[in-house]
Every structure is written in C-alpha cells, then in structure tokens.
C-alpha cells in the first residue's frame, strides 16, 4: 500500500472522524487504542497511524464505487 493519500482527502477524513461516536475505540493490532480525540490527533499529524486511517476510509469508499458499478449493469 504505497499509493499516496490524495491531499484533498485529509480534510474529508478529518470531517468524517469528527462524526465518530464518542464511545467508539479503534483497537489496532500494532498496539494503538484510538479514541475519537486520538484518531483526530493522528490525522492532524498525518502520522503513520493517520495514514492507516486514511487507507481504511479509502477502502470503505471503494465499496460504494463497486456498488455503483453493479447498478450500471
């Protein structure tokens, strides 16, 4: 996964994580526990964890692209 995260996507990502439920905690197998605040911090820093969150979000967005393709058939 070496594709660069589009510059414009970071703001989208931040906006989405501002909507993360307050009781949600993301457990990442590398040892990170991300509350909403921590996730937003990592996104702001564009850290390795922030990049991971961006890739997870991009993977999710792809789901809708695939469904749009099905709708065309």
């Amino acid at each position: 996964m070496t594709d660069k995260i589009p510059e414009s996507f970071w703001d989208v990502l931040k906006a989405r994580y501002k909507e993360m439920p307050k009781d949600g905690v993301i457990l990442i197998g590398a040892g990170e526990e991300l509350t909403k605040a921590k996730a937003l911090e990592e996104i702001e820093k564009r850290s390795e964890v922030g990049e991971l969150l961006a890739r997870i979000e991009l993977n999710y967005v792809r789901l809708f692209k695939e469904e749009a393709e099905w709708a065309k058939q």
Binding site: L27, G29, I56
Partner: protein, 217 residues
C-alpha cells in the same frame, strides 16, 4: 496425526485483552473437540514457552498478539517468532492475528518448512465499544470481527484445509458486512458504519501463504 494446538494469548493492553478474551471460545471449542491445548496466556506468552511447546510437535499454532512484517510478539511485545526461530515450526500450520506478519516472516516461514501460514497483510483493526471494554464478549461491534477470525481455527479443528478455513472466515466477514450494511440503512446508528469500515479492511487483508490444501488435523 496428533491433535495438539498451541495458542498464545498475551494480555497487556486493551487490544491484547480483547484478543485474549475473545479467543477463549476457540480454546473451549478445541477442548470439547478432543484436542490437547497448550494455552500460553499473559505472562506465559513468551518466546521460551513457545519454543518449549514446539518440542511437543503441535500441529497448529494460533498466535495472538501484536506483530510487524518480520515478527510475531507475545507478552509485553517480546518477539516470540522471527527469522531466528521460525525453522523450529517446520511441518506445522500457523495462524496469527499479528499485524502484517504474513508479509515478511509468514512468507519466509514457508521456505523454512511451515506448511501454511494464515494472517493479515495489513494492520488488523477492530472497532469496539468502550462501554464493554471490561467484558469484550458483550461488545456488539467487536463480535463481528472475532466471529469471523475465530472461524479459521474452528474450521481447521474440523479437519478442513487452510483454504477452506480462510474461505469460511471470508464468508463470516461477508455475512457481518451484509448485516451491517442492511442495519445502516434501517437504523441510524453510526456505530454500524464505523464497524463496517474496519470489518471491510480486515476482510480484504486476510491472506494465506504456503500449501492451502494442507490440513492441521
């Protein structure tokens, strides 16, 4: 063929606590199915204990805990599997939830004689509910992840192949994905969407190296 399985269950942060609690059903399942289980929880999840367990020629290793592309870790992130000891596991099947381990050490283990290595190409991530952090079994979101991942050892215990184990896990992921997509439409619970995002990620990440037709038992 013997019927011995080793399972490491470190427990020193919230993630490993979740992995430890939610993999206990695998132990119960194995014991009820007549398998000998070498359980290495918490402080017992060490390199020394794992290497000692190898002497009992287990068929299957289930390694919980954190990881990197080149390591699988145990308690307090002690490296329990890496290039220095992987050859000891020759002839066995390894399944690990450790992030990215399949990419490096997993792939390498095959040339060191491991029959099949099942793991996750990217960082394994779980969306959880902090209100159930003391009792992960009651975490409605986390159950989707472990309902799928636990299918791998449970399918192997039934004598099925590694390919079948991965397929059953993918089906379980897909079932949860469809359930969450449907509930997201019907209900306005945002947690469904967040669980779905991480479930999709883990489902895409599940991978196998080596002989997919091999069976642990």
């Amino acid at each position: 063929m013997g019927k011995t399985v080793v399972i490491t269950r470190p427990d020193f942060d919230l993630a490993t606590y979740y992995w430890k609690r939610l993999s206990s059903e695998v132990i119960t399942y194995a014991k009820e199915s007549g398998f000998e289980v070498i359980d290495l929880p918490k402080e017992k999840a060490t390199r020394q204990n794992l290497e000692r367990a190898v002497q009992r020629s287990p068929n299957l290793y289930i390694l919980n805990g954190h990881g990197t592309t080149e390591t699988v870790m145990g308690q307090k992130n002690e490296v329990i599997l890496n290039s220095e000891n992987v050859s000891r596991f020759s002839g066995s099947i390894i399944y690990t939830i450790a992030c990215e381990a399949i990419v490096g050490i997993g792939k390498r283990s095959i040339s060191d004689g491991v029959r099949c290595f099942i793991g996750y190409k990217f960082q394994f991530a779980v969306y959880s509910d902090k209100n159930h952090s003391a009792n992960p079994e009651n975490d409605e979101y986390a159950r989707h992840f472990f309902g799928a991942t636990n299918m791998i050892p449970k399918t192997l215990f039934k004598g099925n192949s590694c390919n079948e184990a991965v397929e059953r896990a993918r089906e379980a992921f897909q079932k949860s994905i469809i359930e969450l997509k449907t509930r997201t439409v019907k209900e306005s619970l945002p947690d469904n969407v967040w669980t779905l995002k991480y479930l999709l990620w883990d489902a895409a990440s599940l991978h196998l190296e080596g002989d997919g037709d091999s069976r642990a038992f």
